[in-house]
């Protein structure tokens, strides 16, 4: 009966044979790479840096670490929600930190009002602002205001989750879930590009993997590299969808005393040496649609230009570049890039950071979730505002948006793996923890009779220990004392 690769679970008398990657009849125990593991464990973060390969010298650590004094933070991952009601109520855990009784209320919230802000490091034009972003053909969000060197998408939100068709909601939920859990997602933008995006990975735009962010706009690039070009070339055009820069006309060139070259650009001149709209947005040179850089140049002014004039054209990432010299008729002729300029093009590339997709989950903790923490939900909001209560998401720090309510953002890459779930409402399930002093908790009307000790959780078998993310502040440290500024 048992397959070669199946293992027998002895957690209960059903004694399931479980294949790799599968679970037993209970859906709780599974076979992960040949090991029997509890799959819905309650995740506890241990404040030890990557257990086993710590940055602390081993001997020193061995002497001071006995396994019991490692501070532990209880995350909400796997804690369950107060709804559906067959799950246990949120855990309310007390622990001692620096002899102050600290308390963490953990719950997995069902977020109908939630979404993802996706930052895609690319200058390529992904699609017109406000156009729909689709997954599996269903609208799941839109293109929003672009940022410096990055295109921004706003995905999810209650309108796509529950305001549209059933299928739209399901696909939106699945898209958010996958992005938040660090999986790759394919998106298409109306009248725009097709993308593959994954938190912490380079974006793939129309089947081309993006590698670098631009160093700055075309004008900024001129400013940064003018000195390095001086004397090696007569003029430089930095092609950019936003502001294309021209060295000889630019303030930086003027300061160096670079002579006029009679170069003329298409597009709208903003200030000397800075041009808007030299081409349409696209996925070619510098985020424009041009493949031939000469197409943005008009004829050189014959009164100023001279045969043999040396011109470098380069994109803001250094990814595209071409070197020309003017012939007797003042037409640019493509030549090999001289070694003296190779270095500056390489320098532009070097100054461009790796292009990544980054995913911020954004959600709002509504009334019923807050009511799971205290009998008077608005007091929790006030306590968060007053920074007496720290909000974390799977142990990761959050940014709580000012104003009413508890609307927060969190970088999903700082959260433990697969921290998110869903309900087919559809809505996302995300962990959320509120940490505060025990006496502050009592003051805001907390459920003091449900407070349990950390030790009581340690005795169960429903838990999984993980090392805390190194970049995250320890969730239990330095929550402000009441009365402090």
């Amino acid at each position: 009966m048992p397959d070669d690769d199946a293992i027998r679970c002895d957690a209960c008398p059903v004694l399931c044979y479980i294949k790799p990657g599968r679970t037993g009849a209970c859906d709780r125990y599974g076979n992960r790479d040949g090991q029997l593991v509890r799959l819905d464990p309650h995740v506890l973060l241990d404040r030890a840096v990557s257990r086993g390969d710590s940055v602390v010298p081993f001997l020193e650590r061995e002497g001071s670490w006995d396994g019991n004094i490692v501070p532990t933070f209880v995350t909400a991952i796997g804690a369950g929600t107060t709804y559906p009601d067959y799950k246990p109520a949120p855990f309310i855990i007390s622990s001692q930190v620096d002899n102050v009784d600290m308390l963490t209320v953990v719950t997995e919230g069902i977020f109908s009002y939630c979404g993802v802000k996706l930052k895609i490091d690319t200058d390529r034009h992904l699609g017109p602002e406000t156009n729909l972003v689709r997954a599996q053909g269903e609208p799941v969000g839109h293109v929003t205001t672009s940022e410096y060197g990055s295109q921004m998408l706003s995905l999810g939100g209650v309108r796509h989750l529950t305001g549209g068709s059933r299928h739209e909601g399901t696909v939106t939920c699945e898209t958010l879930l996958n992005l938040c859990n660090g999986k790759a997602v394919e998106l298409s933008i109306d009248d725009g590009a097709t993308l593959t995006v994954q938190a912490g990975n380079p974006p793939v735009v129309d089947n081309v993997q993006e590698e670098r962010m631009r160093v700055g706009c075309g004008s900024a690039t001129i400013g940064m590299f003018a000195k390095q070009w001086f004397g090696k070339v007569d003029d430089v055009v930095v092609v950019d969808d936003h502001i294309t820069g021209v060295l000889s006309e630019h303030q930086a060139g003027k300061l160096l005393g670079i002579a006029e070259t009679g170069i003329k650009l298409k597009g709208r001149r903003s200030t000397p040496g800075r041009y808007f709209q030299v081409a349409e947005p696209g996925t070619a040179w510098g985020g424009t649609n041009i493949h031939d850089p000469l197409s943005i140049l008009k004829d050189f002014n014959p009164k100023v230009a001279w045969p043999g004039l040396r011109l470098l054209m380069v994109s803001t990432t250094g990814e595209h570049h071409a070197y020309f010299e003017l012939d007797e008729a003042l037409h640019p002729i493509l030549k090999d890039l001289p070694p003296a300029l190779t270095e500056s093009v390489a320098r532009i590339k070097e100054n461009c950071e790796p292009a990544l997709c980054t995913v911020l989950f954004m959600g709002g903790a509504g009334g019923s979730l807050r009511a799971g923490v205290t009998e008077n939900p608005v007091r929790l909001t006030h306590s968060v505002r007053d920074t007496l209560t720290r909000v974390t998401c799977g142990g990761a720090p959050v940014y709580v948006w000012p104003g009413g309510g508890i609307t927060f953002m969190v970088d999903v890459s700082r959260m433990p793996q697969n921290a998110f779930g869903y309900v087919p409402t559809p809505a996302l399930v995300a962990p959320i923890e509120f940490t505060l002093k025990l006496k502050d908790y009592a003051a805001l009307g907390g459920y003091m009779d449900h407070v349990r000790s950390l030790d009581s959780l340690m005795s169960g078998q429903l838990r999984r220990h993980m090392s805390a993310h190194e970049a995250n502040p320890w969730p239990l440290s330095s929550v402000k004392k009441q009365g402090e500024p």
Binding site: M1, P2, D3, A6, A11, C12, P13, V14, L15, C16, Y17, I18, K19, R22, G24, A25, C26, D27, Y83, P84, D85, Y86, P88, A89, G109, I110, F111, S112, Y113, C114, T162, R166, H167, G363, G364, A365, G366, G367, S368, L369, V423, P424, T425, P426, A427, H450
Partner: protein, 296 residues
């Protein structure tokens, strides 16, 4: 002790857990009677899983009148629930395990105490007790594993209904069909469980390319479904596909209703619902527009 039995923080409901069994129990009555009921339920619960596991091979075998009778009251309930189907389709007593366990625990409570009403919810398969003039409103969920109500059923003591069950391919058990959820009302939970399994199997589109199926054994080597193809994923379906699949399931539900094996069924697929019922008002659907969501 392996089994975990705890009173939930609301102080009213009992949560019982052992291996794959997970029950929520609530009894309504005087405090003393409720206490008696919970003591009896807990006592009975301790042995249920071991009893079932002692005859797992038989419970995983095709139901047949020619097999030796089961030992143990829960296993007997399972065998009785699937017996009406033994000669017409593939079914094993395991198809009724959740409903049978719910019944068994309910029975332990009602025989030890006097209650107004009580329920035992075994992952959506529910056994009910109703004294005269009592009623229960039961929510129907879209998928067995997750809460999103698509309708309610109100069950009155004068009706013969004492069991509900929900089955679908997304749940913990395997399904041969593609129903998101089929909820069945029957005279008892084990009967509802078996019927819901079969009706959910019948909500199907044979050979449809969007449906991914694999032999049950490939996923779970000791599944009672052996080499039968179980649904693993359902891709895009046209409205015609949804109609056809629901019509197939409804036809079986109507037949079981005719035979007196069930009282009502609600079949749910891709947001579409079909009701098959002996009475018009047995099941009430929640209107999509007025559906209320649980907000964080």
């Amino acid at each position: 002790m392996r089994a975990q039995i705890t009173l939930l923080p609301d102080g009213r409901r009992l949560h019982m857990h052992d291996g794959p069994i997970d029950l929520i129990v609530e009894a309504f009555g005087s405090p003393a009677q409720v206490k008696l009921a919970y003591q009896s339920a807990s006592q009975r619960f301790l042995n249920v899983l071991d009893e079932l596991c002692s005859q797992l091979p038989a419970l995983r075998t095709q139901a047949s009148p020619h097999l030796p009778p089961m030992s143990g009251s829960t296993a007997k309930r399972m065998a009785a629930a699937v017996a009406p189907y033994a000669d017409r389709t593939f079914i094993t007593p395991m198809a009724a395990v959740a409903g049978a366990v719910a019944e068994e625990i309910l029975d332990a409570m009602t025989s030890a105490s006097t209650l107004f009403k009580a329920y035992v919810n075994d992952g959506g398969d529910i056994a009910l007790h109703l004294a005269v003039e009592e009623q229960f409103v039961v929510g129907m969920v879209e998928r067995p594993d997750r809460p999103s109500l698509f309708g309610t059923a109100t069950i009155y003591s004068h009706q013969p209904i004492r069991g509900l069950a929900t089955s679908g391919w997304g749940g913990r058990s395997f399904s041969l069909g593609i129903a998101d959820a089929v909820t069945v009302l029957a005279h008892r939970a084990s009967a509802a469980d078996a019927a819901a399994t079969l009706i959910a199997n019948a909500v199907d589109l044979p050979n449809h390319p969007a449906i991914h199926r694999v032999p049950a054994r490939n996923i779970s080597p000791d599944s009672d479904l052996r080499d039968l193809l179980v649904t693993q994923n359902v891709g895009p379906l046209s409205p015609e596909d949804v109609n056809f699949a629901l019509a197939s399931g409804s036809a079986l539900a109507a037949q079981l209703l005719e035979e007196g094996l069930i009282y009502a069924a609600a079949l749910h697929l891709r947001g579409e619902t079909r009701i098959v019922s002996a009475q018009d008002d047995l099941l009430t659907l929640t209107d999509c527009q007025t559906r209320s969501f649980v907000h964080a």
